[in-house]
Structure formats: structure tokens, C-alpha cells
Amino acid sequence: MHVTSPAFKANAARALADTGLQKALSRSGPSAHAKRSRAVAALPEFERLRETGRDIKNHTLANLDFYLEAYAAKVEAAGGHVHWCSTAEEARAAVLEICRKAGARTVTKGKSMISEELGINDHLEANGIEPVETDLGEYILQLRKEPPSHIIGPAFHLNREDWEDTFRKSHIDLPFDRSFAQRRDILEEARGRLRARFLAADVGITGANFLIAETGSSVIVTNEGNGDLTQTLPRVHIALASIEKVVPTLEDCTSLLRLLARSATGQDFSVYTTFSTGVRRQGDLDGPEEYHVVLVDNGRSNMVGTEFQDMLRCIRCAACMNHCPVYGVTGGHAYGWVYPGPMGSVLTPALVGVDKAGHLPNASTFCGRCESVCPVKIPLPKLMRHWREREFERHLTPPTQRRALRLWAWLARRPEAYRLAMRLGIGALARFGRGKGAFTKLPGAGGWTEGRDLPAPEPGGTFMDRYQRQQRGRRA
């Protein structure tokens, strides 16, 4: 997928001016908060489970090589194949090769963010194989040739009129004046279109929420049932998964599942949580005859052992973006790659480079809501700060900002000079602001005062001045 993260500022400005997007965001954000809060309130153990979730993932990451090998051995014992792929290119080639060997003409797909990361659809299409997205949200995005804007609700940015419009333009064999009086009519039409595609597909590609070392299973979690149809009906099932998806046992997976749906959609449990282990068994009346796992690194092993290792705990619930004030106004597309919101602001620089994605970790006020809702307690603001540090170290920050940061660092390390500078600055502001109460404009801070006023400091000096006076007064 083409990276437009370097244009984040322009993307964000465009998003703010997009009335349709703003309508969608203002509808969806608050309802996502309320749903999660209700589900969390109904499970008193939720906070303790977050600690369990964090510990399970940390244990796994500390022994990731062992668990991946144990997992792969179990997959192979169940008649499956594991394709280890270091890069996106290798993964695309592996998927194409499996599809070609299967003589595939059409491939159905369950929703998968790793598939977006790898660019599977474009690669299949370029090689004469038709990919069909079957998740309702992904389906309409494929019709509209748009990327997802949210990791669990890919069509988060669309309104009902967009759905109607797209379906009328795309399903041209149906009467143009048909009614979409209810949302259910949209759903019915998609169900009808996709049923035939499910039955005709030669290969089904899904992602994986978890891989289980104990049993060699890949796990998908869906509400629609499209992922299950995708992995059950075709002769060949391919599961795409990145290396950090592995967990040791069913019990570990179960504990994380208790966190996942509650954090993601506010459900206690998703409708379909399905564990796939190898190929159709003797006597089974359905299920795939071939089972392939394309196990993808694509930059993740480089994060192991660094300050960004915590990010590999992520279970892709989207709670961080649902609760992010920045995502809440820019939407997902502005972030410019596959993963938006706070988790994207940490992961994208790691996977595509901080030189391209440096704006993302800077577009945060560090309000901390993301960390407070993260089911595996990833310290997202801290990790974004680490990216800012790396950016500074690598001289990627603009010169003015660098000079300002240097000046601030020099002052911050010299308390006397810092206090003097504050005394001068605040004294000047207090003098100029006398009688005004607030500044609507300030030289050098036009960007800041454009949206709000700066309250003028009250007379009486800096905090330290006042504090010292008070202390002297007490002693006297």
C-alpha cells in the first residue's frame, strides 16, 4: 500500500474540511466509548485481566522463537504448511504460488489488516486472480477502491447515503430505483451478491487474531460469519498472520479473548470465534483440503528487544483509536498507511520508517486515553515519545523546531537560567497583557492563537517567585 503518511498535515486539514467524514466520526466515536464502558463495567475482573493479558504477551515475546517453532511443528502435524516470510514481497509470492497451484480464478477474503499491509489484493489482480472481499465493510471499500479507515470497522468513515450510492452504481443489473428504506436492505443486497462468490471461490484467505502453539490453530474472530465461510467452503484455506500473533495455549488465548471483544465493539464475546487446525479430517463432510499459514515478519523481529517491543503485544482491538481525540477528528485515512490512531502512530514508523511516518507520533497531545483503555497495557504515549526522540537523533525534525528544542533543553538543565528566562518572559507578557486578560495574537505563536486565546499571566511573577515569597512569609 502506498504510504501517504509524510503528507499527514495536509491529509488532516482535508479531513477536517470533509463534512461527510466529520458526520461519520461524530456519530461513531461517542457510541464506541459507551459500548466499551458498558461491557467493561459488567466484568469486575476487567482491570486484572488487562494485567493478565499484558503478562501473557510479554511471556510469549520473551520466548517468541520457541513458541513459533512449537506452533509450526503442530501445524505441520495437522497436515498444514507454514510459509515463513521475512518480507511483504516473500509473503505475496507465497500467496500467489499457493493460488496458482490450486488453479484459482477467484479468491474470497475475510477481513485482514496484514493483507492490506502486504498488498495481497493488488498482487493477485495483477496476476489474473480475482480477490473478493467478503466482510461487509471491506466489500464496499473494494467497490469504492478505498483503503480501510479503521482496523475493525473498515468503513467507519462512510454514511448510509454512501452505501446506497455505491450499491446503485456497482450492482448495475439490479433496478436503479430500488428502495434502501432500511439499513437491512443494504445488508440483504450484499448478502445476496456475496453468497454466490463464497460458493464459487477456489481459495479462501483469512487473517488470524491468534496462533496457538499448543495446538497449531489459527483463530479468527468475526460477527458476520464471512471469515468462516471463507475458510470453510473453498478447497484451500490460507491464513495470513504476523509473527507476534502466537500465544502459548488455549487458556492464554481465552484470557485474551475476554479482553478483545469488550475492548473492540463492547460485546462480551464476538459471534464467531473459530479455531482452525490443519486440513479436513477423514470422514468430515466439509472444510478445506489444504491449509497454509503465511507467517509474516515484515519488520517486526527488528522491534524485539528494543523500546518498541511493547507494541508487539497489540491485539488489534482498536480501542486506542476509538478513544483518540486526534483520530476522532481526522479519521483513519489521514494517517496515510494501514494502521491509524495511536497504535498506528507507533507501529507505522517501525514498519515503514520514521523518516516517512514521523508526523504520526507528533500528532498527539499525550492525553493518555489510549493507554488507559489498551487491553494489554501498551504505553502508547511513551512509545510515541520514543519516536520523537529517534526523529530528533536522526536530524529528521525541522531546523526551527530543533533549535527551539535545543534551547529548551539547555534551559531545562540550568534552573537559574530557566527561572530568569521565565521571569523575563512572563513579566513581559504580564505587562503587555495588563487590562486585556488574554492575547488573541502573539508573534511567533500564530498557529497556536489561531484557534484559542492565551490567558495573560497575572501580575506577581512566576510560580517559583510566588512560592519563595510565600515560604519567606511563613518563616517570618
Binding site: R27, S28, L43, P44, E45, L49, I56, A62, L64, D65, F66, Y67, E69, A77, A78, W84, C85, L136, G153, P154, F156, N159, R160, W163, R184, L187, R191, L194, R195, L199, S217, N223, E224, G225, D228, L229, T232, P248, L250, E251, D252, T254, S255, D268, F269, V271, Y272, T273, T274, F275, S276, T277, G278, V279, D284, L285, D286, G287, S301, G305
Partner: protein
């Protein structure tokens, strides 16, 4: 090869080589003993309470439940359900011995087909392996007598579940499977597919508003026996 490159990259990051044998043995023991973590108090109830919780949770997730005192009443309960929903008498049934053994002959109006499901089937009758009270979840492991397509293709899925197969937490259902299921291919207990099903299919992709019946069944009905 990429396998070595990936494992090597991870080990470099962790600043160690392959784990020493004693640590590998410890991790293998963790896999074999699969220790449980915190289990929410919600399902820590006597069995009657677990069954009541199971029913309440299925209904909260837009499923329906009917309780019959013994298995012989399942065909009549199914017939009444189909009539009540304005559905025809034709259905596809999981070829499971427990379902085969029911008195279908007493209900000649019902049209039973014993096979996997196809795209045009309207109603399926599935054998329930276990019920999980915690969230009203059905455990449906694939088997020759329990085809997966029955959970997916028909518009209406009816599941026959014995009340004594209702457990509290997911972990207890996994332990049932571990104890009872032998997989000939792997020698383990996992079949090709285990579905945990909580209510009928749904989607909230259109304006984050819930609609039932996305790609899977739009109705999920449980006939609870005993």
C-alpha cells in the same frame, strides 16, 4: 531461508541464542499443563445457575432458547418452532448419532436430510457439543457428525444441546474437548475446526448500527434438553 532469518532476528533482539534445554523444557511443561488464568466470578455458580446464566446470555445475544424435559420431545419442539417462524418443514440435519436416534418417524411432516449444508438450505439442525454460560456461547467442534457448514449457510440454525453439557467458563469446555476428543490425524484433541458461536450473525459496518443476519444465520435457536 526465511525461517532461520526470522528466528535469528528474534534471537538477536533478545540478545541470546536458542533457548537452553532446561528453559525449553520449562516452556514445554507450560504448554502441556496449560495453566488457567483468572476466571471471572460471573460463571462460578452451581450447575442450575450456570444453565440459567447460559439461557439469559443466549437471549441477550438475540438467540432464542426452548427447554424440553427429554430428547424424545426434540422433533415436536422443532416442528413447533418452524411453524412459529413461518418456515417450511424441510431441514438439513447433522448426521450425529444422538440426533439420528430421535423419534423422527413419529413426525412424518418433517422433511429431514442428513448431510452438510448447501447454499440454498433454509434450516439446519446441529448437534451442540457444549454450552458456555459465561457469555451464552455454543461450542461446535467439527466432526463427521457435526459439519461446520450447518453453522454458516442456512438462514436459521437450530442447535440441540443437553443441559448437562452446559459449563461455566470457556476453560471448562476446552477441558471437555481435551478429555473426550481424539483426533486420528494428530493424536491430539483438536479437530479441523472448533466454532464458538454466540448468537446469530450480525454486522455493524453500516453506520456502526447493529443488523442481524449478515452472512451467517439470522436466527439461532437452542433446544435445551433436560
Amino acid at each position: 531461508m526465511s525461517r532461520e532469518a526470522i528466528l535469528g532476528g528474534i534471537r538477536r533482539g533478545l540478545k541470546r541464542g536458542e533457548l537452553p534445554a532446561d528453559q525449553q523444557a520449562m516452556l514445554r511443561h507450560r504448554l502441556e499443563s496449560h495453566p488457567r488464568h483468572l476466571i471471572p466470578a460471573r460463571s462460578r455458580l452451581p450447575h442450575d445457575g450456570q444453565v440459567a446464566l447460559f439461557i439469559a446470555r443466549v437471549e441477550a445475544e438475540f438467540g432464542t432458547v426452548e427447554r424440553v424435559p427429554d430428547a424424545a420431545q426434540v422433533p415436536a419442539a422443532l416442528m413447533d418452532y418452524l411453524a412459529g417462524q413461518n418456515l417450511g418443514p424441510r431441514f438439513v440435519m447433522a448426521p450425529h448419532p444422538e440426533l439420528e436416534g430421535l423419534p423422527w418417524a413419529d413426525h412424518p411432516l418433517l422433511m429431514v436430510e442428513r448431510r452438510r449444508a448447501e447454499g440454498t438450505d433454509q434450516v439446519s439442525l446441529q448437534h451442540g457439543y457444549a454450552g458456555i454460560a459465561e457469555t451464552g456461547t455454543l461450542m461446535l467442534p467439527a466432526a463427521p457428525g457435526r459439519p461446520t457448514t450447518l453453522n454458516l449457510l442456512p438462514e436459521t440454525e437450530v442447535v440441540v444441546l443437553h443441559a448437562d453439557r452446559v459449563v461455566g467458563a470457556y476453560e471448562e469446555a476446552w477441558d471437555l474437548l481435551r478429555a473426550e476428543n481424539r483426533d486420528a490425524l494428530t493424536g491430539g484433541f483438536m479437530p479441523r475446526n472448533v466454532m464458538l458461536v454466540t448468537g446469530p450473525s450480525r454486522s455493524a459496518d453500516i453506520e456502526q448500527t447493529l443488523e442481524l443476519g449478515a452472512h451467517g444465520p439470522r436466527r439461532l435457536h437452542v433446544i435445551l434438553v433436560g
